[in-house]
């Protein structure tokens, strides 16, 4: 095991591999690529939330001669987007289930004409009653999906919850809600597609998962594997928002390209991207918790419901992760979690950094402070008394075999933030001021990699090869979209082989070149794919040792000379490895029991907030995050992941509100969907405690999603500390705080409200 070995390259702040291209403007994003004879594509979308399509009318005022028009009738294969359940059509056929659902595609040489064309297609509908909220969906007055509007449900049980209530000193209940959140990657969704009889479909695009798009295109076009090619272009942010949607957009552009007989580019503008693409699932979580007199958890009953939108897309797996994170990092002998994802007539919700965990962790971490208040103990102490420890069992009865150091993380967070001293100072000052300050905390884990048996099913393949001009290439479909995939994987290969970082490059993220190393999601790249690259690199050296006379100690020149000797025998120099699960991993998908994740990353976060009780505005003044993510492969990139995740978490808590009307996002502009700016983000202090994980790349676990899980509850807990007012829903904007703060501080509500 390589985890405790001293390293040269792993663990050092190697500069971002593609950094210079990005800093000079040379990096090629999809909008920067031209193809000979390329046309532009656009989408005619549903203007209603639910109904039957009666007719599609093309205005006679437009000369349609120069247009290519595609409807569902033009789809050569299956009219669905291949994901988990095949319920989402590629193009609406006879009915629509959400606003902005794609009905007709147009292509034209001229973008202005194209826009005129989109406006000149009139769709006649027979409206059906829609449902827009969790409450409307669960009433089942109107069934909009399946037999009961339930996209997916889980039941997770441990011990006997029903018998635990009688012995409880306190029973505390609470209901917590989270809103939709938009990814707001700065580069919108975009693709270019080409089609030819000889080569089939080729799609270039801004995307996370080339093989997801590949699979979906095979279904839509009815083509074999080798007639579909997907190439990721430089991708300007994703955060989960380019996990499943590029399968939709890639199919659309490819259908237009096939009919037009020429390349077609489709790039959404900001308004279309915000209105039509997935967001984070809204949620409602109800907690009922029994504790003894000392605050020890006796029973947790949790009812967790998410709004999945019109089609199932990724709702089942998001719900799974939410369910498995709903009890927090605590040990409790009796647990029952019932969870459901319900259908509504909104754009399908999808993957977003954290993937259900931020919703679940908001609820449990707000609830812990409510329990502490109800029984009159310090919220820090309540957490400490219930933390998972080495050898403890989770709600799925997974035994904690890897070290759990929550106490250590908590102690560090308290010390770095000077938590108790600041709380005491604010308590003194708040009494004399209309501006109240407070400190809040959250503690949590995030499971690394796919849930349960997921990594086994993915069965990822990855490796390295050696080019004729003397470079080791990393062969993965794992993509770079800002997180640092290119850098950490080349670091791992260089370290494992014994080369310089400059000797290792990334193979192009092209399904014709790289094997399927699984999707770039679920905080799995560093741990799972990193481990595959480490193994493949070691395997390559062993191959050269045994087959090409490479000695144990070698120079760079000797290494590449040995590669060329191997090439004369084997024609290629390549080493691939397939995923092998860590031993003793067992998961029962039916009972939802066992090792939910091979490893967990852990974190404690502290927020310092200020609340102006006159304007009702809350701001985060300073933020501390202590985390254990296994081995830190690159401290600069890791710090950037943590800070960026926290900034998004602050936005989730205090700024980012999707305004809905009739199932449509009304504030689909950067002007009125507000994310934190350079002036809003507080100083963020990130600290790492490293416990290498034996089955991750050089000891790494997952990091990308973890930091987004904690800010919202820490901030609302700090607002409670500052004002005494408890809030149970995010986003929490001034208008949401007005009533409570007004009554708490006897403010006059303005007459105009």
């Amino acid at each position: 095991m390589s985890t405790s070995v001293k390293t040269r390259i792993v663990g050092s702040p190697v500069p971002r591999k593609e950094g210079a291209d990005k800093l000079t403007g040379r990096a090629r994003y999809v909008a920067d690529i031209e193809r000979e004879g390329m046309w532009h594509g656009a989408t005619v979308r549903s203007s209603i939330a639910r109904g039957l399509i009666r007719s599609i009318n093309f205005s006679p005022e437009i000369d349609w001669g120069g247009f290519v028009v595609v409807t569902s009738a033009d789809i050569p294969g299956k009219n669905h987007i291949q994901l988990i359940v095949a319920d989402q059509p590629c193009l609406a056929d006879g009915r629509v289930n959400h606003c902005e659902e794609a009905i007709v595609l147009l292509a034209h040489a001229n973008q202005q004409r194209l826009r005129q064309g989109v406006a000149a297609v009139d769709i006649e509908y027979e409206p059906l009653p829609p449902v827009f909220t969790i409450e409307e969906s669960e009433r089942k007055d109107v069934i909009v999906w399946g037999e009961d509007n339930v996209l997916k449900s889980f039941l997770l049980e441990k011990g006997n919850v029903d018998e635990a209530w009688a012995g409880a000193a306190h029973i505390v209940e609470g209901e917590y809600r989270t809103g939709a959140q938009e990814h707001l990657y700065i580069e919108n969704n975009g693709v270019i597609a080409e089609y030819s009889e000889a080569d089939g479909v080729t799609v270039w695009g801004s995307l996370q998962c080339p093989y997801y798009v590949h699979k979906s295109l095979m279904a839509v076009f009815g083509l074999p594997e080798d007639k579909v090619r997907v190439i990721q272009t430089e991708t300007g942010g994703a955060f989960g928002g380019k996990e499943d949607y590029p399968s939709v957009l890639g199919s659309h552009a490819a259908l237009l390209a096939m009919k037009a007989g020429r390349p077609v580019r489709m790039i959404y503008d900001r308004m279309e991207d915000l209105a039509a693409t997935p967001k984070r699932h809204p949620s409602r979580t109800r907690h009922r918790t029994a504790v003894d007199a000392s605050g020890k958890l006796l029973a947790m009953e949790i009812d967790l419901t998410t709004d999945g939108g019109a089609y199932s897309t990724l709702s089942s797996t998001v719900l799974s992760r939410a369910t498995l994170h709903s009890c927090g990092p605590y040990e409790c002998p009796n647990v029952r979690v019932r969870s459901r994802a319900l259908a509504t007539n909104t754009v399908p919700y999808g993957a977003f950094r954290g993937f259900g965990a931020p919703q679940a962790i908001f609820a449990i971490e707000r609830h812990m402070d409510e329990i502490a208040a109800a029984i009159g103990i310090d919220p820090i102490e309540l957490r400490r008394r219930n933390f998972l420890k080495d050898g403890a069992t989770t709600a799925t009865q997974q035994v904690m075999r890897e070290p759990v150091i929550l106490d250590r993380l908590l102690d560090r967070a308290l010390a770095e933030s000077d938590y108790y001293a600041r709380r005491a100072q604010f308590a003194r000052e708040n009494a004399k001021s209309a501006v109240k300050r407070g400190m809040g905390i959250s503690a949590f884990f995030h499971g690394s990699g796919f849930t349960g048996s997921g990594e086994r099913y993915l069965n990822s393949l990855a490796g390295v090869d050696v080019t004729r001009d003397g470079k080791v290439r990393v062969l993965v479909s794992s993509t770079e979209f800002g997180q640092g995939t290119n850098t950490i994987l080349t670091q791992i290969a260089a370290e494992a082989i014994g080369l310089d970082i400059s000797d290792v490059i990334m193979a192009p993220p092209d399904t014709r070149v790289v094997p399927n190393s699984g999707p770039t999601v679920a905080s799995r790249t560093a741990m799972v794919v990193g481990r595959l690259i480490e193994r493949a690199s070691i395997q390559l050296v062993k191959m050269l040792n045994s087959d090409a006379g490479l000695t144990d100690e070698f120079t760079r020149e000797e290494f590449f000379a040995a590669c060329e000797r191997l090439r004369t025998e084997n024609a290629e120099v390549v080493s691939l490895c397939r995923y092998e699960p860590p031993p003793n991993i067992f998961w029962d998908d039916q009972k939802y029991r066992g090792e939910a994740y091979p490893a967990y990353a852990w974190s404690v976060q502290v927020a310092q907030v200020t609340v102006d009780t006159v304007t009702c505005s809350a701001e985060v003044e300073e933020f501390w995050a202590v985390q254990e993510v296994g081995r830190v492969l690159n401290p600069v990139l890791a710090g950037g992941q943590v800070e960026g995740g926290i900034a998004q978490g602050i936005g989730y808590a205090l700024y980012e509100k999707v305004q809905w009307q009739g199932g449509r996002m009304m504030n689909n502009q950067m002007t009125n969907y507000i994310m934190p700016t350079a002036e809003d983000v507080p100083p963020i202090h990130a600290y790492f405690d490293e416990i290498p994980f034996g089955h991750g790349g050089f000891g790494a676990k997952g990091i990308g999603e973890l930091p987004h899980d904690g800010p919202a509850p820490a901030i609302l807990n700090a607002i409670r500390d500052a004002t005494g007012a408890s809030f149970y829903a995010i986003p929490l904007l001034p208008e949401d705080m007005l009533a409570k703060l007004a009554s708490a501080f006897r403010l006059e509500e303005p007459a105009t409200l």
């Binding site: 800093l23 700065i186 942010g237 990139l637 950067m670 002007t671 350079a678």
Partner: protein, 169 residues
């Protein structure tokens, strides 16, 4: 090309250019499509995100909001002018070393905003850096490493060198 379109002359990164485009064509599109300077990016098309930031006559502008005609006779600077003969300038080097760029799509605009800030004020305080970059949205970094990068670049003398270049023009 349409004969009614005006010919518009301006200087881009020190080179005289002439384009014949619709007068209301966005400067962003002129740079990207007519001059093949694709380093300048579009994020929102409404002047909110700052990804399309360029300097025009010494002012920082959102090139998605500037019609081509308005750029007539102007001196325009884009991200492509920062590196000289393939070598990153001190600001770019600091962004590379400190993690100031992640996905990279906001980076050209962010670099132009930072360049503009340092041209105006070679030794800004952290509050002035935050204000100077507030018109440029970054969704990846949480801005912290962008601030660090600017501060590090100033320590390496970027403020003074950018100021001197600015004054020389």
């Amino acid at each position: 090309m349409n004969p009614s379109w005006p010919s518009i002359e301006f200087t881009v990164n020190g080179t005289a250019e002439s384009v014949c485009v619709p007068p209301m064509k966005r400067l962003l599109d002129v740079l990207r499509e007519d001059l093949n300077l694709t380093g300048t990016k579009e994020g929102c098309g409404e002047g909110e995100c700052g990804s399309c930031s360029v300097r025009m006559n010494g002012e920082l502008v959102n090139s998605c909001l500037v019609p081509a005609l308005q750029a007539k006779g102007a001196c325009i600077e884009t991200v492509e002018m920062l590196a000289r003969e393939g070598e990153l300038n001190p600001l770019q080097k600091a962004f590379l070393a400190r993690g100031g760029a992640q996905c990279g799509i906001c980076t050209p605009g962010m670099l132009m905003a930072a360049t503009h800030l340092l041209a105006q004020n070679p030794s800004p305080s952290i509050a002035e850096i935050r204000e100077g970059l507030a018109g440029n949205l970054c969704r990846c970094t949480g801005f912290i490493r962008i601030f660090d990068s600017v501060i590090a670049a100033i320590a390496e003398g970027a403020g003074t060198s950018i100021r001197q270049e600015h004054n020389a023009r």
